[in-house]
């Protein structure tokens, strides 16, 4: 000890600058010690958690699946599990809830709720600390029921990440009006942000989605209207058909893009007419999506329209059109061959040649495989 104090003492008396640096070194040492203490403390907590998890797995966890159908045995299991901290129960039940569906999932969620974990989640979802709210919402995505829908509507206006989770859960359990309340406040400035909205709407059953479509024209954001239209085309096509003419004539490019994409998922005559109308839209993005839609639908009407679009002045329209022609069987192949030889447009000729090569490549692969 005296050697260390002697060491620092001699440096301390070596000059003012040394003294100043020594102070800095001491401050740094304290900071580093604080970091080490915090890391050690966290490590101890994690170790304790691991031990508790292991004890739970050994003593209480076995047999959950076996007792789910037997009320008396389930109560006994609950009594055993109740001796452990809630965090341990959560860590055990969460992955099982995530990994199951249907009846089994509903039963495990019921156990989750009986153990008081759902009530705790709801309480935590209203916490002032965003991390606590976020963690609670991550669990509620799977365990929330219709009773929690109002809470989810409130949370959908929270921080974006929390809002995304709340919206996802609401898609599963909310009424059409509640989902609409969320959609009404959603802004999607970037296309990439649309994926969670798609996921939320995909979680709705057909009946609720059809009712939600009644509110389609009241949705303020054109991008959300586009997404809604696309999901409806996939899930409730008979409802979507009704809104297509309205969407195709909308002043918003986003909505017209949605209409064009939806046409590709529908089969009715009216939607074909809409697709052909959108193929001559003034905006290239709409034409490009219409080309894709025509490709998905097929038929002689589509091939003629696609051959025209293959000579469009926009790159993506041409690309989508020739790619769509490739999917049209013999008629498409003939159209591509004609384009590759006789088109006056260099770009169209190149694009058609490219698709013909691909066609040939994979026809050969198919033949080789057979």
């Amino acid at each position: 000890m005296s050697a260390i104090s002697g060491f620092f003492g001699s440096l301390w008396h070596s000059g003012g600058a040394y003294r100043a640096v020594l102070v800095l070194v001491a401050v740094e040492g304290v900071l580093m010690a604080l970091c080490a203490c915090w890391l050690s403390f966290t490590a101890i907590l994690m170790r304790r958690d691991r031990k508790l998890d292991a004890a739970f797995a050994r003593k209480a966890a076995p047999g959950l699946l076996a007792v789910l159908a037997d009320e008396k045995a389930l109560r006994a299991w609950q009594a055993r599990a109740g001796r452990f901290p809630k965090a341990v129960l959560r860590r055990y039940l969460e992955p099982r809830i995530m990994a199951t569906t249907g009846n089994l999932n509903a039963r495990i969620v019921d156990v989750y709720s009986r153990l008081g974990l759902l009530a705790k989640d709801m309480q935590q979802a209203e916490s002032r600390a965003w991390r606590t709210r976020m963690k609670a919402m991550r669990r509620l995505v799977f365990v929330a029921g219709p009773q929690q829908a109002e809470l989810l509507v409130r949370r959908s206006r929270d921080l974006h990440a929390i809002g995304v989770l709340a919206a996802m859960a609401l898609g599963r359990v909310g009424t059409p009006r509640q989902v609409f309340e969320v959609l009404r406040h959603i802004e999607l400035p970037r296309r990439l942000m649309a994926q969670p909205v798609h996921a939320m709407l995909d979680a709705m059953d057909q009946e609720r989605l059809a009712k939600l479509m009644d509110l389609w024209s009241e949705t303020p954001s054109p991008t959300v209207r586009r997404v809604l239209l696309e999901v409806a085309a996939r899930r409730v096509p008979w409802v979507c058909e009704r809104y297509l003419p309205l969407a195709a004539g909308n002043s918003s490019v986003e909505v017209r893009i949605g209409a064009a994409r939806s046409c590709g998922m529908l089969a009715g005559v009216s939607s074909m007419k809409v697709a052909l109308r959108l193929a001559i839209d003034e905006v290239p993005q709409v034409r490009a999506q219409a080309a894709r839609a025509l490709g998905r639908r097929g038929g002689s009407g589509s091939v003629d329209a696609l051959a025209g679009l293959a000579e469009d002045r926009d790159f993506w329209v041409r690309q989508n059109a020739v790619a769509a022609l490739r999917e049209q069987g013999d008629a498409g192949r003939r159209a591509l061959e004609e384009l590759s030889v006789s088109s006056r447009d260099d770009f169209a000729r190149d694009a058609a040649r490219q698709e013909l090569e691909q066609l040939l490549l994979f026809t050969e692969t198919g033949e080789a495989a057979s």
């Binding site: 001699s10 040394y18 020594l22 963690k135 400035p189 696309e230 691909q358 490549l361």
Partner: protein, 465 residues
């Protein structure tokens, strides 16, 4: 006079270590935030959704015969619903292209090139008959940046992921990066993840099966370095929004942002850092709200050099790349108009990354001179050594602790023991070795050197090239 120099060097060391401690704290904060906000619960929904944005992986390859097959297999096995892979063969003189043709049954196709970025001539474009998602481009030699630009011209997806051909992607690495983009409301234009060493990992069918500390000591030292660099330096910078680099080994970008910025510059050897800095500069100048983010999850494994010569060439090139990026964008330095980038990130890189080796070398020279002349203060020298060795070691230990809490890469007492031993020993020899390579890089930069230097790949353990 002696005291002034002594104090200057010690002050520099204290400042360096002090900033590292601050970054360690910021990193711990950032990682806790990330742990709360990551949503593995939504993985399944993202993976199954038709509307998940499509991604193109662009993988430039120049003489990568040792790793290319495993790397492409790894890319094809990535869990992601809408994926295309473009491997750009940059005039390899080895069997890179032949191996790709053999293993993936490539056949020529033509693709219309939307040439928005100038690049070298393409010789041929091929598509795999085994997996149509794989496109291979053979082109004239133009360097890694040029190859990436070719990939950018060819790809048609809104997101692009630039990956080195000596890297193996983790199965859900890409998914985690995309989730950051789709669940963000802050206009994120680029996301990077943690890169780990593939040395010591066993690869089968393009997938990492088991990962341990490398057996080679040079690789072990680099494992410590990588962990420090990614887990606390970059995560710390992330907290401040001033990350100046997304690793070239794996980075996800919004294609339009990169194309609008003019793609990768071909006149630099540090194209990854240069692009990141240019994206920052462009966005800040235009006053656009944006984010460039780093996440702590391991997204990719890369092969580190295991020979002194190759390591020296790599560090030499990195230092030249660093200099070029910082010099080209020097207007950002201490410029409040660039926010935390100009006031924190840029000065840090200049002071500790660019000038660090020069100052450290001067320190060694000063210590040697004062010792020879008999004017050295032994107490001071001892204190300096303690700070230099012990402080650095403790920071590495705390990084390992962070790793154990959040990413758990090195599990098992043997791995941890080797990690700690490497962390302690790196100050004796390895540090000086990389220091000399970095100094050489600066000298060669001033001599006008522009080449990459030959990199020799060993290949992954268990991988069949």
């Amino acid at each position: 006079m002696t005291e002034s120099f002594d104090v200057f060097f010690l002050l520099y060391l204290v400042a360096l270590n002090g900033s590292q401690i601050v970054f360690l704290m910021l990193s711990a904060w950032e990682m806790a935030r990330r742990r709360a906000s990551q949503t593995p619960e939504l993985d399944a929904s993202t993976l199954s959704a038709e509307t998940t944005p499509p991604v193109t992986i662009i993988s430039p390859a120049h003489n990568e015969e040792a790793t290319i097959v495993e790397s492409v297999r790894g890319n094809l096995r990535v869990e992601y619903p809408q994926l295309q892979i473009i491997v750009v063969n940059d005039d390899s003189s080895d069997r890179t292209l032949e191996l790709l043709k053999e293993r993936f049954d490539l056949r020529p196709v033509s693709m219309v090139l939307h040439e928005r970025i100038a690049a070298k001539r393409i010789r041929s474009i091929m598509q795999s008959r085994i997996d149509p998602r794989l496109i291979v481009v053979d082109k004239e030699h133009g360097g890694k940046a040029d190859s990436l630009n070719v990939g950018l011209n060819l790809c048609r997806t809104p997101l692009v992921c630039c990956v080195d051909s000596d890297s193996i992607l983790s199965r859900r690495g890409l998914l985690h990066l995309v989730e950051v983009l789709v669940q963000d409301d802050g206009n994120t234009i680029a996301v990077g993840g943690t890169i780990r060493l593939g040395n010591g990992c066993v690869v089968a069918d393009g997938e990492i099966k088991r990962c341990t500390m490398p057996r080679n000591w040079l690789a072990r030292f680099q494992a410590v370095e990588y962990l420090r660099a990614f887990l606390f330096a970059r995560m710390g910078f992330n907290r401040l929004g001033s990350n100046l680099i997304l690793s070239g080994a794996f980075g996800l970008f919004v294609r339009e942002a990169v194309v609008d910025a003019g793609g990768y510059r071909t006149d630099t050897v540090g194209e990854d850092m240069e692009l990141t800095v240019r994206l920052h500069a462009g966005m800040r100048r235009r006053g656009v709200r944006y984010r460039i983010q780093q996440i702590p999850e391991t997204v990719c494994f890369t092969e580190a050099p295991e020979s002194v010569a190759v390591l020296s060439r790599q560090r030499d090139r990195w230092q030249r790349g660093l200099f070029e990026s910082l010099w080209r964008h020097r207007a950002m330095m201490l410029n409040p108009g660039y926010g935390s980038i100009g006031m924190i990130g840029f000065p840090f890189y200049v002071l500790f990354e660019l000038l660090g080796p020069v100052i450290e070398l001067c320190g060694y020279a000063w210590f040697a001179m004062t010792t020879i002349l008999g004017v050295a203060n032994p107490t001071f020298a001892l204190l300096f050594a303690v700070i230099a060795v012990v402080w650095q070691f403790l920071i590495s230990v705390e990084t390992l602790a962070l790793d154990q809490m959040y990413t758990k890469m090195y599990i098992g007492s043997k791995d941890r023991a080797f990690f700690l031993l490497a962390a302690f020993l790196e100050t004796f020899g390895y540090r000086q070795l990389t220091l000399l390579a970095r100094i050489r890089g600066l000298v060669r930069k001033f001599q006008g050197e522009k080449g990459w230097g030959r990199m020799v790949r060993k290949g992954f353990e268990g991988g069949a090239a």
